[in-house]
Structure formats: C-alpha cells, structure tokens
Symmetry: C2
Subunit: 337 residues, 2 copies
Amino acid sequence: MVTTNPNTLATFDLKSYLTQRAAEIEAALDSSLPVVYPEQIYESMRYSLMAGGKRLRPILCLATCEMLGAPSSLAMPTACALEMVHTMSLIHDDLPAMDNDDYRRGKLTNHKVYGEDVAVLAGDALLTYAFEYIATQTPQSPSQVQSKAPEKGPEKGSEKALEKGPITAADKSTAQPQQVLKVIASLARAVGAAGLVGGQIVDLDSEGKAIDENTLTYIHMHKTAALLEVSVTSAAILAGADQTVIDRLTRYAQRIGLAFQIVDDILDITSTAETLGKSVGKDIAVQKATYPRLWGLEASQRKAQQLVDEAIAQLDIFDQQAQPLVAIAQYITARKY
Amino acid sequence: MVTTNPNTLATFDLKSYLTQRAAEIEAALDSSLPVVYPEQIYESMRYSLMAGGKRLRPILCLATCEMLGAPSSLAMPTACALEMVHTMSLIHDDLPAMDNDDYRRGKLTNHKVYGEDVAVLAGDALLTYAFEYIATQTPQSPSQVQSKAPEKGPEKGSEKALEKGPITAADKSTAQPQQVLKVIASLARAVGAAGLVGGQIVDLDSEGKAIDENTLTYIHMHKTAALLEVSVTSAAILAGADQTVIDRLTRYAQRIGLAFQIVDDILDITSTAETLGKSVGKDIAVQKATYPRLWGLEASQRKAQQLVDEAIAQLDIFDQQAQPLVAIAQYITARKY
C-alpha cells in the first residue's frame, strides 16, 4: 500500500481538471436531450439541465471511473443521468409549495419561466429520462456471458497489446447488463424515499423546530450525501470494482457529502447573493435547522475540515490515481460558492 | 392460425377474473412498500398507491405474461411498478398547479391530505421506486449466460418433467438482465417527455383552444395509451416474445388506450360524481378538448367500439389464451366508471 504524497497532490491543477471535465459533461448533456415535439417540455428540461452549476456529481462519477482504470466513456451516460436527477430535485425543490425560490444559479427558476405545471412535469420527465438514459446509452458488452470471455491474444506488432497490464481501460470499456441494472437500482434508491426524498421530507418537517444532531445528520446524509455517494459507487459498479473498494468510496462520499452540506449552510450565512447566485439568509429566515445554528460557525468549519480529511484517508490505496478525488474533497471546504 | 371463438369468449367470467387479479395485485402492492422512517413519505405514497382503482395496467401486464406462457410472478414486480408510475401521474396531475382536483377515487387527493410539498415528493418517490422495484425484484436467471443453458434432464419419476411441453411456464420463470433493462427503458420512455408527460404538456397547452383531431389523438396516445402499451409490451419482453408478437400487442394496447380515453371523456359528460368517484363536467368547464366535443357523443361511442374491435382482432393468433385480454378490451367500452 502506497500512501498519497502531499507534494504530488499540490501540483495537481484542480481548476483545469474541473474546467475540462465540466466542458465534456456540458457537451454530453447537450447532446443527450434534443428538442423535439412537444418543444415546450424539452425546452423546460434543457433550461434547467443546461443552466450551468458545478457538475460535481458527474465529475465525481467520471473521476472515479478513471481512477479504477476504466474509460470515462463507460460512465458518461450515468454521469449525465446523475445531473438529470439532481436537476429534477432542484426544479421541484424551488416550487412555491416547497422552498419557493425565484432564482437558482443566478437565473429565474424553472417555474418562474415555464409555470408551475410545466416545472412539475419537467422534473418528472428528467427523473424518468435518467433511468432510460443509463439503460440505453451505457456501453454494454455484445455478449451477456457472465464468465469472462477469453481474452484475445495480443495483436501482432501492436504496441497497445504490449503495454497491456493486468488491468487496462480496454478490458473495462463495456459493462454487463447486470452491472447496469445495479447502477439503476442504486440511483433509484439514492433519489427515492430511502435517499434524497426522505432527506427532504425530514428537512421540511424540521423547519421551525428544535431538532437534534441525529436528525440534522439524517437530513444531510440523505438530502445531499446519498446522491454524491451513488455518483462514485455507480462508477465503481460499472468499472467492476470489488466490495472493499465500493465500501471505501461509500465512506469517502458520505464524508464529503456531509462536509458539502455543512459548507452550504455556512455559505448561506457568510456569502452574498451575488457570489452565490441564489437567495441567501433564507435558512435563518425560515428558522431552518443547520449545523452553524446548532454548533456555531467555527465548530461547523472545523467539522467540515475533519470530514474532508477522513474522506481523503479512504483513498490512500489508490495512490496517484486518486488525485482528482482528493483535490475535489479539499475543494469542498475551500469553496466560496 | 386459429381464430377466436366468440362462443367460448362469452363464457369467460371477466368479473371474477378482474376481482381475483386485483386482489393479487393489492397484496403485492401492499407488501412492496412497508412504512419505515421517515413515515410521512411512505404513508403519503401508500395513501395513493393503495387507494383502489381498477388496477387496469398491472392486470394487463399479468394477463399478457400468462397469455404468452410465462408465470405471472415473472411480471408481478413490473405490474406493481406500472401502478406506482400511474399513481405518481395522478398525484402530480391533481396538484393545484395542474388539474387542481380535490377528490380522486372518492377520496381526498394526496395534496389535500399531506400538503402540496409532500405530494410532489411522494410522486417523485413512487416514480423512482418503480424503477428500483423492477431492477431488484424481477426474478432473474442465476446465470447471465445469453445462450440457453442446457436443460436439465427429466427427474426420475417426476410427473412435472413428463408433462413438459415445448414451451412451459417453468422455462420462462426468470428473465435475463438485458430483458429487465429493456423493460426499464420502455417504461421510462412511456412515462417521460416522449410519452405520458409529453401528452400532458400538449393537453395543458390545448385548454381553451380549438385543436384538431391530430393534436387530440397525440394527447390520448401519449397521456393514456403509452402506459397501457408498455403494460402489455413489458410483459412480452419478459416472456421472451418475438417482435411480431410485440407489434401485435402494441397495436392492441394503442387501440384500447385510445378507446379508454374516449370513453373517459364520454363519462365525464354522461356520468355522475357519485358513480365516477371524482369531479365530473370539468372538461367542459375548462373548455378542454375532447372527442365528444369534436365529434359529438354518438360518433365518439362508435369510434371507441371500432377501436376495441380492431384491438381484439390483433389477438386472434393467441386463441383461448387471449380470453382475458379480449374481455378487458370489450369491458372498456361497456364500463360505467
């Protein structure tokens, strides 16, 4: 086992990495959803899907896939689906009956542009399209034979064949149907009543109440961490990782998910609407339970840093390959918006 | 090819069949969704999922599965998922921002009981759970080997083995993962922007407008027929039917779907709130486009009957096995609620 070298990490250019990855994802999302009749629903779906944002979930998915030696193309449909699901949750969350937000990422929210009825339907359509997209677009093995197909012998004079190590991207460029099914089941669980929706329900129920730390942690683990968790574990499933690896990635994601939400709550207090691109101070206005409210700002910041350190420790077995995931974890506490 | 004998069909007891099937489906739905923390979301989901209704979609799914020689257990998770998706569409459709209905199946609508925020989330959770349920609960082959596994020789003295014909339910009791993926993709397409949601969008856009027959047919084919279509084709996919059979079933479902919606529109005019269990006369009140409005009541009734006849004609190759699907088609034009 090789421990991660902090000096090497320092040289990793996260900004360039995120920019390049986000550009790939924008292109993939753009081509995932052409506008056809009836145009209004596709335009509404695209309005929110293409509204920018950090693309953190798809980036985590692609980065994990590559860390495990599989090409990012294997996970790209799942990465797009993660953003579709995330976008759905934002559209429905912004509705007047929910958080009643007029702005999101510096733009009018979906229902302010298209009306509440279309916004509800656009969310439904994005959610269901996410599953369709994974099922139909994930590169799948032409044969569904479970036992590994005998590997082809090295091609004559092929440099690529000579370079072939025990695990290469070429071996992992497609998934078996049962792996794709597992990804679908994991994503569905992460977004449903046992995941994101469950977190939102407890969150709504907690407004204006004095809730304990356990309840607050439940909210964050489900409302935020569940989708981040499936962002990395879905890639691991597709790349054929074993359970030890999936468990490490689960712990990594849970910790950055919780840290992410704590930082979100902190930014709601310390940031400005201009920087954040959405309304601020709302949590306090509606007496929403947050970590800063429970512990104060400084203790919340310390806790976020501790979680990020723990998350990074889960990645030590991956050495250099973990650079993007390590840097993303560090970025979470450092971010200003 | 043996043509269906009308005399035999007349003896089929549809009422008993529907009652028995509905009871099976109620039990399966009941056990599909236990109430756990956070209870409110599961109670809200169950409130609408267990609110009765005809269970037409799951019944079509199970009937098709058995018609094609597979046991209904193979399609039961998909049948439940169809009802989850249908229930989601009703919950969201009833929202104030959509049709704004207070009653559904004689009970208060979901948002009247749980609030709009919970109703939006309950719909989201049911939609995503439908996909999880198919992916995890469909009986799947232990081996993912595509080529047919060599059949075991008959067990000594086993009557079951001796009874075995060329196609038996036992051969079709499980599905391959790629068949399950195909069902998920078909269901997702049927409910999304290319299906149900697309139909709802055009429907909403048409209120108070003079629309032509093509637009009206688009609405019905997507808002109603798409989900009925996938109810039968999903079962056909699981049972391993060939494309000819799937095409026939598609035509069957499209015709009964359209007929079903025409009859729905007729009942909105001719029935009473007591019989129907929901508000009546609403279509006229909001100047909604309907077939009766376009053609008049009598011509609409004739068209519905013609569609049902065409639907039944698609089933002639299945002889006696088609009895339930034939009777269901006939029931659509005869129903009073």
